[in-house]
Amino acid sequence: MKNHYLETVLLGLCLFVPGLSGAQDHYPSKSITIVSPFPPGGTSDLTARQLAPVLERIFKQPVVVQNRPGAAGATGSQVVANSAPDGYTLILHLVSISALPERDKLFGHKPAYTRDQFVGIARITADPPMLVVHPSLPAKNLKEFVALARKKPGEMIFSSSGLYGASHVPFEMFLQAANLKMRHLPTTGGAPAMTAVLGGHAVTWASPPNIAAPHLKSGKVRAFAQWGEKRLEAFPEVPTFKEQGYDIEYYLWGGLFAPKNVPPQVFNTLREAVRKAVNDPEFVKGMEKIRTPIAYQDADEFNAWWDKDAQKLAQVIQRIGKVTEK
């Protein structure tokens, strides 16, 4: 009897130990889920879906994109933040990952998640928004636009994709830098914000280049400036804010994140795979099609950059404050 017991334990150990080490050595050994916290068809979703098949080829394991939209990205973030840090659940989030906890802080809520529940694997895209205006406005450049706005303080209207959202924050940066006052018309997304400007219900907004592009081409809006550091390849004629004397910089970026405590080997495997993927011709072509330029940053560089970006964002949101208190 005693011998049998020992045998069973030994057998169990033999079976168990290789299984354990196997799981660690051979990451990934099952399918990986990339969560997009936004609805299908958005930048985060489209980027994730371009990335997934390439990673699939590298890992030789299925990579599945899952949409968990809701509460401006908070729902999906919360799910991933609280998932097992085993590298099998990742999230492709946008710049708003930094804004949501700040908003919760402003209102004294228990935050749905915090930034330090995530670690960045790589930044994949970074596109500066553009200041576009309705063509009926009697201004031909940023200088004239600012002069016009200064003449009518608090009367001109800018739209945005939502309060404290990815297009509200850069516009406030500009207003604060230029010391201007304008009325804010928050909407529920990029498309309605653009529609408001096209219809003349607002005169301007900070538009992502890929939303603005077709309307710029057909002359339905004009672009006076963009928030990037350098001029854009696709729009060389649009000057940056920096060139025009406003020291502001802002990007609509997208990055791949994992829950904080992923094991180092897993993290490195992911990091290497993404580095390979962003240079893959299939991925490069796919991103060209969705008109979102790749702006890769590796984990270390990205996490440091992300901290700085988030601090800047937090300052702007604190300065916007609660709308009802104004």
Partner: protein, 507 residues
């Protein structure tokens, strides 16, 4: 005109090519199935299918997705009529009279009229899209927040015509719906309201789980509470075809519903959902026998069903002519074209004539496909009613839970549906009408947002509604409608105590 004709020929040469035609068929079939799945609507359907279209060419992708969109609009009416489960938000009104017709043994005609009405409205919508797209799109842009507010106010006034029961009960239910609609993050201030710290409630309560619960689950509970099991229906062939009288009654509602739906559909925003409510209200108001509504009036099926399909076509006007997605569904479709490197925008029609005209032609084809698909299926669907309730209802319940969960992978939605089922059961026991809850829930977030957006534009000055001609006209009409609806309350002031809550208010 000749140019349009030539373009259309080009379009048909694309749409009738075998590969495109096959995908149109596949899209329509998938769409019909998705629409029939309780909780899963057109948006969920095309979102789920979007990744699958990345490998196809852009024309096929958009034909497939629009087939799903259309099919889901058709399919949604089937479960509404047969089982009182709205497959998607636009079918909520169809539940009321459609299901009543089923109980009267007229399920076949209700399904047939829904299919025919959808076909006519869909086709009329495509004609409108083809001839008027650029002109109408410019007009649609003039709908800013104040115009939207006025439109929604009109929708609210129509509430008064929606229900045959007591005015007080209707208003109470509308109030409940409006309050449910307040849950979530306030878009204008960022405050979270009534969300009990649940992140999922930040977006508010969705109309679909609420409608499935209020209408579908409550029906199952009510049936279970009956002393004797309801008789399983045994439809005969001649009961499947609408009678001449039913056809005659449906002509007007279909025509009005098509026009109304198309007009509401082109307006940016999610107003297309209210087109079916508005149509129902109008038909009830115009009917010589408003008391028949709610008890199986064919007009109550024909009007809303036509309106929601015409609105579906209308939504493509700004999308195709300007590249602006006016609803979540069109946003996904734009993404489907974008991944192929085509940027939708004002130049799309001139730069990609094959895409636009192929799409237009495929919509004609799709409507025919759906009619051909749906009319013969009426017999099949009606036979579902032969299944004994002991087997049918547990299956429906399972499908409701599955469908609701799969929309956004959220358990909260399932709980909302189940709780609403319980509330619906209690309310119906007390003889409350549930349609106003659904309309209130649909209207309140949109109305609140657009009203406050308008005030943000004017820095708090209500004069903005009187400065803009479209808004002013619509508000005027709304007030007129409202006065007409309270007329019976005022002119019978002597005995209002005996009237209110006890008797039917004259519509």
């Amino acid at each position: 005109m000749l140019e349009t004709f030539n373009n259309l020929l080009l379009g048909f040469s694309v749409a009738l090519s075998p590969s495109v035609l096959v995908y149109a068929f596949v899209g329509c079939i998938i769409g019909t199935l998705v629409g029939m799945m309780p909780g899963l609507g057109p948006l969920a359907g095309i979102s789920l299918l979007l990744p699958a279209t990345f490998g196809l060419n852009p024309i096929i992708a958009i034909v497939l997705l629009s087939g799903v969109y259309y099919g889901a609009m058709y399919g949604g009416s089937t479960t509404s009529i047969l089982m009182r489960i709205p497959g998607e938000a636009a079918s909520v009104m169809t539940c009321v009279d459609g299901y009543a017709m089923t109980q009267n043994g007229r399920a076949g005609p209700a399904l047939a009229i829904a299919a025919i009405g959808s076909f006519i409205a869909g086709t009329a919508g495509v004609v409108g899209l083809m001839l008027l797209a650029p002109t109408l799109a410019e007009f649609a842009l003039r709908f800013g927040p104040p115009e939207y507010t006025a439109l929604l106010m009109m929708g609210l006034f129509i509430l008064a015509y929606m229900s045959g029961g007591s005015m007080l009960k209707t208003l109470a239910m509308a109030g409940l719906g409006l309050m449910l609609g307040m849950i979530g993050i306030d878009a204008m201030s960022g405050y979270t309201r009534f969300s009990f710290d649940l992140v999922e409630l930040g977006d508010g309560v969705g109309i679909v789980p609420v409608a499935v619960g209020l209408f579908g689950i409550s029906e199952i509970l009510l049936t279970a509470g009956q002393d004797a099991a309801p008789k399983v229906q045994n439809p005969k062939l001649h009961d499947l075809i609408p009678s001449r009288e039913e056809f005659r009654l449906s002509v007007g509602p279909i025509a009005r519903g098509s026009l109304l739906g198309f007009m509401i559909g082109i307006i940016p925003g999610s107003a297309h959902i209210i087109s079916s409510f508005v149509s129902y209200g109008i038909e009830r108001r115009m009917s010589k026998h408003p008391e028949r509504f709610g008890k199986g009036a064919i007009e109550g099926v024909a009007g809303p069903e036509s309106a929601n399909n015409a609105a579906a076509s209308g939504a493509f006007v700004p999308m195709m002519a300007l590249g602006i997605p006016t609803s979540p569904v069109t946003a996904v479709m734009i993404a489907a074209i974008m991944v192929h490197g085509i940027s939708p925008g004002p130049l799309l029609i001139s730069q990609q004539p094959e895409l636009f005209w192929g799409f237009v032609a495929s919509m004609y084809v799709g409507n025919v496909v759906l009619l051909v698909l749906n009319l013969p299926m009426v017999g099949l669907f009606v036979n579902l009613l032969r299944i004994p309730y002991a087997y049918l209802y547990p299956c429906i319940l399972a499908f409701c839970i599955l469908g609701t969960y799969s929309v956004s992978n959220s358990m909260i939605d399932v709980w909302i549906m189940l709780i609403m089922g319980g509330i619906g059961y209690v309310l119906r026991k007390f003889d409350y009408d549930l349609a106003p809850v659904a309309l209130g829930l649909v209207l309140s977030p949109m109305l609140e947002l657009s009203l406050r957006q308008s005030l943000a534009m004017s820095a708090g000055d209500y004069g903005i509604f009187l400065e803009r001609p479209i808004a002013t006209t619509m508000l005027g009409l709304g007030v007129l409608l409202f006065l007409l609806s309270i007329k019976p309350l005022i002119f019978k002031s002597k005995d209002w105590r005996s009237k209110v809550g006890l008797d039917e208010v004259e519509g």
